[in-house]
Structure formats: C-alpha cells, structure tokens
Symmetry: C2
Subunit: 312 residues, 2 copies
Amino acid sequence: MIHLPDPFPAFDWSSANTFSANALDRCSNLRTDPSFVARSFEDPRARLMLFYGDRVLVTDGDPPRPYLTGDALDAAADAATASIFLGVDPDGVPWFAADVIEAPSPALVASLVDLRTLALEGRAEPSVFGPAAQARAMLFWHHRNRFCGACGHPTELAAAGYQRNCPACGTQHFPRTDPVVIMLIADGDRALLGRQARFTPNMYTCLAGFMEPGETVEDAVRREVAEESGIRVGAIRYLASQPWPFPSNLMLGCLGEALSADITIDHNELEDCRWFDRDEVRAMLAGDHPAGLMTPMRIAIARSLIGAWVAG
Amino acid sequence: MIHLPDPFPAFDWSSANTFSANALDRCSNLRTDPSFVARSFEDPRARLMLFYGDRVLVTDGDPPRPYLTGDALDAAADAATASIFLGVDPDGVPWFAADVIEAPSPALVASLVDLRTLALEGRAEPSVFGPAAQARAMLFWHHRNRFCGACGHPTELAAAGYQRNCPACGTQHFPRTDPVVIMLIADGDRALLGRQARFTPNMYTCLAGFMEPGETVEDAVRREVAEESGIRVGAIRYLASQPWPFPSNLMLGCLGEALSADITIDHNELEDCRWFDRDEVRAMLAGDHPAGLMTPMRIAIARSLIGAWVAG
C-alpha cells in the first residue's frame, strides 16, 4: 500500500517566526581560508555582534543596533575572544560575533540587552534577529567546548569558529543544535495547553520537550505529551521550525491529534494542563479572555501553532 | 492573510524507517531514582547491549540477538563501564547499554557487528534497531563528554546515563542529537540526485547536510542544496524523520521544489550531481537501470524520500 505524501505547503510557516529570517550567506566553503576571513574582518563595513553571556551590546540610535562597526568594532575586537564569522549579507557586508569573557566595564553592562527583551521590544530591525540567534548559539557552544570532552585538553578554534580541534587527541568538535519538539495537540474542537509554575501568571502554551537520542520527531511528540499530560497522540503533522537561541535550540513545531481525553498532569513538569475550547483560545489570543488567560508572547513558535489551529 | 495548514498525514512515514521503531518506555521520571535503576538491572529478564566503538556484541542464534541476558549479562557488566538505562519494553523487560573501553578479547571481537551491517543483513528482529540506535548515540556522547568542555575536569555520569555533571564547575551536560536535513529536490518530473566519491559505485542519492546554529529546517535545505548543486529551492515539505546512529544524527527528510535548473557541482562535496527522469529513478529503485545506476540501501531514509517522489 502506497501512502501518497501531501502536496507542498503554500507558505513557509518557518519564515514568519522571530529569529528565523537569516539573510546571511554563511560561505561555508570559505571558512577554512584564513585570508578570506581576515579580509572580511578588515572590510570597513564589517559588523560585530558583541555578547556577554546571553546579552548582546546594543548601540543607541533608532533603530537600536545590536552590532558594532568602524572604530567601535576595532576597539571591541581587541577586548573580545577570537571572533566567529557569521556570513555576508545581501549588501556584501560581512558579519562577525565575539564575546567578552572577562568582567565588562559598567558602561558596557549598561548597554547589554538579552535577545528575548530585544525581540519583545520590537525596535531593532527584523533582519538582525536571525544572525543574533546564530551568534548566541555559536558563542554558547564555544564557551562549553573550550576543553576537549574526550581527553580534557584545551581545544583550539578553527574554520572561522565552526570547529574546535583538540591538539592532544585529535578529536574534532562541531557546533551543537538541540532539537526540541513543541506541539499543539487537538481533540476535535479543543486544544491541550499547559503551564509551568515559572511562567507568567495566567499564560498557557503548547507542551514541549527536548528530543532524545534514538527517536523520531513523531515519537518524541508522543512521548513528551504522554509524560507531561498522560494524553495519547496519533497522527502528527510538522508545521514549522524556529531557531530558539536560549541558548541553542531548534524548535520543531507540530500539530497532533489526541487519541485519549483524560489528563494526568506530571506535576514535576507542569503546574496545570487543560483542554481549552477553540472560542476560549481565540479569546486568549485576542487578549480578551474573561478570566485574563493568555497565550505566549508573539516571538514564540507556540503562538504560531496556536494561531494555526484556531484559524484551521 | 491566513495560510491554512495541510491536513494530518494519513500515515506516519517516520515509523517505517529502520532504527525508527522504538517500543521502549524510557521512564524518564524514574531515571534519577537509583533504586529503580538498580532493581531494573537485577531483573533476571534484563537485557544489556554491549558496544565496542560502533559495533555491538551479537550472540549466535536465530534470530541473532544484539544483547546479553542472564549470566552473560552479569559477566559483561563487570567488564563494562557504568551502564545506561534505555527503558522498559512492552513485556516489562528492562534494557540497558554499556560499552567496553579497554581492548576486548579476540573472542569478543569475533562477535562484534556494526549496526549498518546488522540492519542490512536483516536477520535480527526489527524491534532491536530502535534501542540499538538509542544506545549507540548515548554511548558515543558519553565517550565524547568524559571531561567537562567548560573547565576540563572529569565529569560524572548521572540520571542513569542521561546526564553528566562536572563536580568542579557545576556544569550539567545532556545527550546530544545532531539534526541533518536530507532532501529530494524535484523540478517537475525530474529529481536531483548526487553522489560522493566514497559511495558505492553507481549509487546516487538525496543531497544532505548538518543543520547549523540559527537556521530553520527549510533554510538548511535551501542552503545545503545551493552549496552542493547551485540549485535554488522554493517550497519545502517535511516528510519523515529517522534516528541515524552513525553516530547520533536525526535525519529530517524533506521534499523540495526547484526554482532553477542549471547545476553547479561543489566538487569538494560531490563527485557528481544530475537531474534524473522519473522513469530512470523508477528503474534505479527496481534494480533494472540499463547502466546499472542504483538508489541507496533500504535502511536509508533517502530511499523512502525517493520512493515517495516516484509514487507521488
């Protein structure tokens, strides 16, 4: 029996998510050419995103810019660790990222903004969030791989930041991306939403969890939903993905059909989990729910999944 | 403008892939309970998959079994590193995995089989491949994380193998899964297939590549295809995923529509890349191509993608 695949989607849902649009050409075949990378860094238009932990330096201005250029770039580059090549934008401008390992000055600290706040504020140009997500994930990976996990020896940056090599045992280390499944589970005209105790009060969202070694996307959806809510899931459809730089996740957004109705909450994970009627979810999305219940912030892919389900 | 999502797929394509079916209940909420794990290991029906590098110990018999039980399990457990809890199967039998770090005896070596060979032989029960993929990915991760990447200190196994902690700096490390996009790109009635020089002669398959930090699944498909073939890709549909334990990849299988036709091969990556008519691909699948060209082995998700395109 042949099961024919569905037709192509009319719209790339992924492209509409915050942190998704990334117009940089990563020039991966040129990363190992030190002269290309050095020449790019010397480009007077070059941009450097400077991070301290999960926060990026944002310069004043309208719109605020989470990168440095010109003299400010040169000054920052001296104080930062070896920079990472992010790519070249459609105007031919090379983008780099670096982080400040030592304690930054109070003046620098005052200009640091975490990516979530920057995205929620909505003042920066949309084109900076994709590169910022790329930068944050890469820098976190470098921070976590300064020593070789196989032998404990200090590692060395290579390939313009896309590799770290161990000179002692020869192990090559590559950047890490952690796949996470996030899913809107529906039972006819109701959706399964939950909340963790640490969330904003009254906010309910899709269930989610890290994928584990040795499972498919679909089985990860079924396992996570069963663990957290006791609900069994049948058919599953992938809708969209999103880089989520907190610190280096790949959100795989799915819709799923419930095969059971009785919820058993895992209180280690969730404070609450319930079925919500479509009208109630519509009110939550619109911000006029009578009890003040809410869906997540616009930058989260959960919001897209919930919106897709309400619309469809 | 609202773009309605497609309906649910009638079939879970992922479930049909080798290494995908994994009936173990991972009991993730019990992993941190040492008495549960110890009790499970004492279960006389317990199974232990014993690895040496990428090969698993296979006992004689029909079907051959890539796990040990009873006295053989006890003897192996003494020689192996701390075991990892994989889960409990539908019969209530607990499964574990461990690896042999020191040089194994010649007798042991004679019974080691790599997972690819085991799957291609087709003699082992299908139910063992999911747990074997899980085991191999987990053990590779342990091997690569014996020291803390943040500070270089030796790490300690925790949570029955699903965590390694650094007693020096406190960093917690979690298992790694590397997402890879693999895609059948079509231009009407022709498909884009390529081959690397290291492949079996005459074998052509889908293009593929590791996802990078800060990109969506769809953008990773577009980037990899552009890099390797110069072809631009428009609409993309996710079809199925597959755990691919060589060593710890998550294959994300997609179909994509070509927006251009002229191929520019990246000869660092590919030996050849061409458009193939549907009839030619059908002959390759059936094994009666006049020039002896072939599609990949049945255990690869590429074969499913090619089959779906030929059928649809």
